[in-house]
Point group: C2
């Protein structure tokens, strides 16, 4: 008989990830799917969750802790944002219970930064931050993705953060704009073309607005191969993001990169070239670690010492 | 009997405009359609042109002068770019003749700026520049659109220009990105929201990368109405463009805005607020005027003195 103690779910806009965890905090089963919020809004959050629990062999009535877009206003049940300055420890206290036939189900809230000069919101990343286990003092965290976050944490309290559309810009520009003719699909690697574009964008981020068209023109004029288009575009966008984030969030902090997969390699390269010193934590590990930490706090009796 | 002397065509990527002109240079008939290059590549350029000539009552064998994407590599017949420094007078000499059953048909070339640091190309705008009739000395021209051009002209020679994806960015972001939830479709006007966004972007254009998401967040947090999203986005993008263009192309020039319709009103407001002094010429008038000037030079015998 398996020793499941709870299910942990990271429910994004377009992705669904579930882990079943035992009393020692070890993962005993996992599931990944494309049934993000966009899908679940139509099919029913409870149905999607029920199916994944059954498929991974979860016992009936297993407690479930969820983070991410399931807690958005248009999600399963709204878990109101915790406003900055937001103690990460408060996420657990502000989780909401869902009325469900499946048993004890809770959703962690996101965090909002209401500064009218630069407002932002997050749902899901706050749980990764909880998983980082940031120490005392000031920490700056870079979290690449469709919507990349730069987060300032002081003594466990999220004080300020900003969001960049970097990943989404790459997607919509390379799919729908004139740059579709200049960019080939597929994962980008941190090659010389990428690194050069990061450097160019970092030196003058405001000029990236015109370098986007220059990327197309350089191919029309035979100065660049189409095969280099994706790395160049990625470098321009990431370089511009890093330059703006540096201006917004400054230095003088411990610095952590939270990223997975090909994106992690790109940001490692770009941040190093731009002179940042940082430690790297895998984003999936951080999400699982944060969910686990929160679940232990919510249901302490279900965990071994 | 009508006194047609030639047909003039501005053939864009997604638009087709034709004017029939008499010996005095007056327009005696006109046509507008969506049969731009994208359409004509499939239907045949000659067929599209023939149909429009017939529908406007053009006599058989009327000479036709074309500018724009019909001269692109993937167009009707390639009219190779004139490279910077490009004398506008040279556009006529470098026009190409098309082998067609319809008679004497010529296509004007575009201009390329091959500077590897910031390459760019234009097709269509060069003919508007010809229509401006720029005087001696230095002139800076701003030409808003899907791909906005900023062009430096010295003594009738295009020395340098850059291109911004401003219009296309607005379209793809408001249609395909998360900002689709924050922006309502329809023409934007130069209201206080627009002017404020121009000012904010102009003060720190590199931060516009993060202000794009802040636009969405401000609505989620109840700080902005969705009805204001389009004006704010438009102001951010135009403000960032103007700030970058100012850095690239400096001042100390006569300055001309070449624009039509709602875009003209937005740029007039933004440029004035950013301290530019300029004269404004309608873009359609400029295109017609440039084509007419070129046609008179190619077929002088067909014009009255």
């Amino acid at each position: 008989m398996s020793d499941h103690r709870f299910a942990l779910v990271d429910w994004g806009t377009t992705s669904f990830r579930l882990w079943l965890v035992d009393a020692a905090g070890e993962v005993v089963a996992r599931a990944n799917g494309r049934e993000g919020m966009t899908y679940a809004v139509r099919q029913g959050f409870e149905n999607v969750l029920e199916r994944h629990l059954a498929q991974t062999g979860a016992p009936s009535g297993l407690p479930v802790l969820i983070c991410g877009m399931a807690g958005a206003r248009q999600g399963w049940r709204e878990a109101a944002y915790v406003e900055t300055p937001a103690p990460l420890a408060q996420l657990v206290d502000r989780s909401v219970m869902v009325d469900s036939r499946l048993g004890d189900i809770r959703i962690l809230p996101g965090i909002s930064h209401g500064d009218p000069a630069m407002p932002s919101v997050m749902r899901g990343e706050e749980t990764q931050l909880l998983g980082l286990g940031t120490a005392q003092g000031k920490t700056l965290v870079c979290m690449p993705g469709t919507h990349c976050k730069w987060v300032e944490i002081e003594d466990g309290i999220v004080s300020r953060f900003s969001t960049f559309l970097t990943g989404e810009l790459f997607d919509v520009l390379s799919t729908y704009s004139i740059l579709q003719h200049a960019v080939e699909k597929g994962d980008t690697v941190a090659n010389d073309v990428f690194r050069s574009a990061v450097r160019i964008a970092g030196a003058a981020p405001e000029l990236v607005w015109t370098r986007l068209f220059a990327l197309r023109a350089s191919q029309l004029l035979g100065q660049m191969e189409r095969a280099d288009g994706a790395a160049h575009l990625s470098g321009l966008l990431i370089g511009a993001e890093i330059a703006a984030a540096r201006r917004l969030h400054g230095g003088g902090s411990k610095f952590v990169l939270v990223a997975s997969g090909p994106l992690a390699a790109l940001y490692r390269s770009a941040l190093a070239d731009e002179g940042f010193e940082f430690r790297h934590m895998d984003a999936d590990d951080a999400a699982l670690s944060g969910l686990l930490r929160a679940a232990r706090s919510i249901w302490p009796e279900r965990m071994a010492e």
